[in-house]
């Protein structure tokens, strides 16, 4: 059954094996550092496997709502076109969610460019809050040192 263990738990177990049995027998300092770096990557992958789809699916509507509001408030055809080309589909397949997330991010950037150029304070404040949430989510997933599968929860 693919849920037992979950992907994050599999990666956690791999890191445990590397820590317990592989790392102690490596004597070359350069290779020890490489292995440590690989374990950090595995930690990040475990965190990502737990949350990346849900994080992206949560952010996409906020980007599109922001851009849509900017398009309506300013009458910008460019922003409206960016929103129209960036709707969120129903698919939860990772590559589909990534495509939707990147399209929504571009629409958000197009809107943000406009409100920054015109120094529209209300929209700027709202857009900056979305940026803060974005980097907070990125850092929670790509923390580099947290316990596998657990830091973002």
């Amino acid at each position: 059954m693919i849920t037992r263990p979950s992907t994050s738990r599999v990666l956690e177990d791999v890191v445990e094996e590397l820590t317990r049995d592989i790392m102690p027998v490596i004597t070359d300092p350069a290779q020890q550092i490489r292995l440590h770096m690989l374990m950090i990557v595995l930690n990040d992958c475990a965190n990502a496997s737990e949350r990346e789809i849900s994080v992206m699916r949560a952010e996409i509507p906020t980007y599109l709502a922001f851009a849509d509001d900017v398009a309506k408030a300013t009458g910008s055809a460019e922003v409206a076109a960016a929103v129209a080309g960036a709707q969120m589909g129903d698919s939860l397949v990772l590559t589909d969610v990534i495509r939707d997330y990147e399209n929504a991010s571009r629409a958000f950037s197009t809107a943000m460019d406009l409100v920054m150029d015109t120094v529209n304070r209300d929209f700027i404040e709202r857009g900056e809050a979305l940026l803060k949430t974005r980097v907070t989510n990125e850092r929670a997933i790509l923390s580099g040192s947290s316990a596998v599968g657990r830091s973002a929860s």
Binding site: P29, A30, Q32, I33, R34, M37, L38, I40, V41, D44, Y63, E102, N103, S105, R106, F108, S109, M112, D113, M116, D117, V119, I124, G127, E128, L130, L131, K132, R134, V135, E138, R139, I141, L142, S143, G144
Partner: protein, 334 residues
């Protein structure tokens, strides 16, 4: 780069000295270059230690710099009175012998300033020493550096080229990172006052200062050096994560010393402008990080750094947003 390759190289460049390479061991650490410590015995019985710096295979590398450019800079600064560098001795310009372009420099019996900082010294004194070393590079008269080193035609052209690193990042990822795009816009709204161009190291941090008994400190790792705005080095140092940090506990004290040694005014360098230059001083590395992640996304292998630097990407995005949020809104000026 190993014993056999270095032996063949020395046989070619020092045919009359009867070199015997006794050892060649990789040094751990270093994000960008392969580094090897080697010991050589000459026919007259003397021994000498060398540091070999070569390029990793392209499929194993993320950070891009050119050994020929680095060698040219080492030749340009090796005899300057302002600061010391380990003597650059040989260059395998084609990789014919070493397997990659490689620079061979003398090894200095020393320890890094970072290690010294770890030992718990007086940090006020250490800060003054650090600033003095930084200023010694930035005060180098450009006319003393040979014409082989490229000079931007103007400060504004140079700074626009550095800012364009953000356009390069965004192009690599199809413009899909709103944080980088926001940062770029804030950078363009807040161009700092011009300062005279100077020698910029590109990776100026205590780990790249070597302290040796009885001599002035040495500055190493010149791979990202160039002529440009010296505040790039200051901004770069702000993001160095290794404690103890010599800037953050007292930015005013740090910058007062720096201004006194370089002649810059408070308008030209102050805490706000230092933060601005973090955004620019790290951008050359971020371009490589973004390229590495883009390559991995496209199915290419870039060694351990290609995936490991996902974390650095998130880290820099966080810093960039924090610092660019503090910048005011104004008319775009670049």
């Amino acid at each position: 780069m190993n014993v056999e390759r270095f032996q063949a190289f020395l046989d070619a460049v020092e045919p009359d000295r009867g070199a015997t390479v006794l050892s060649a061991s990789p040094l751990p650490g270093g994000y960008s270059r392969d580094t090897v410590m080697a010991e050589v015995q000459w026919a007259d019985g003397t021994t000498e230690k060398f540091v070999l710096r070569g390029d990793p295979a392209e499929e194993d590398s993320v950070f891009r710099s050119d050994r020929a450019d680095e060698w040219a800079m080492l030749q340009a600064v090796k005899d300057l009175p302002n600061f010391r560098i380990p003597a650059p001795r040989y260059f395998d310009a084609t990789g014919e012998y070493m397997g990659c372009k490689a620079i061979v420099s003398e090894a200095i019996d020393s320890s890094s300033m970072q290690k010294f900082l770890d030992s718990g010294p007086d940090l006020d004194k250490a800060r003054e020493d650090f600033v003095a070393i930084m200023a010694s590079a930035h005060n180098t008269p450009l006319e003393s550096i040979g014409s082989s080193i490229e000079r931007p035609s103007s400060w504004i052209e140079h700074i626009c080229d550095v800012i364009a690193n953000y356009e390069r990042m965004l192009e690599l990822i199809d413009n899909c990172d709103p944080v980088l795009r926001y940062t770029l816009k804030k950078i363009r709204m807040n161009l700092p006052p011009e300062v005279p161009m100077a020698l910029v190291h590109g990776d100026l941090q205590p780990g790249n200062f070597l302290l040796s008994e009885g001599t002035d400190p040495y500055i190493i790792d010149w791979e990202f050096s160039r002529i440009g705005d010296p505040r790039l080095d200051l901004g770069y140092y702000l993001q160095i994560p290794m404690p103890p940090h010599l800037y953050h506990p007292d930015p005013e004290a740090f910058l007062t010393s720096y201004r006194a040694l370089t002649g810059m005014t408070e308008e030209q360098i102050n805490p706000a402008i230092a933060k601005y230059f973090l955004l620019l001083g790290t951008s050359h590395l971020m371009v490589d990080i973004v390229r590495g992640t883009a390559d991995v996304t496209a199915g290419q292998h870039r060694g351990i750094m290609g995936t490991f630097l996902m974390t650095a990407y998130a880290h820099f995005n966080n810093l960039y947003l924090d610092y660019s949020l503090e910048l005011p809104y104004s008319e775009v000026s670049a």
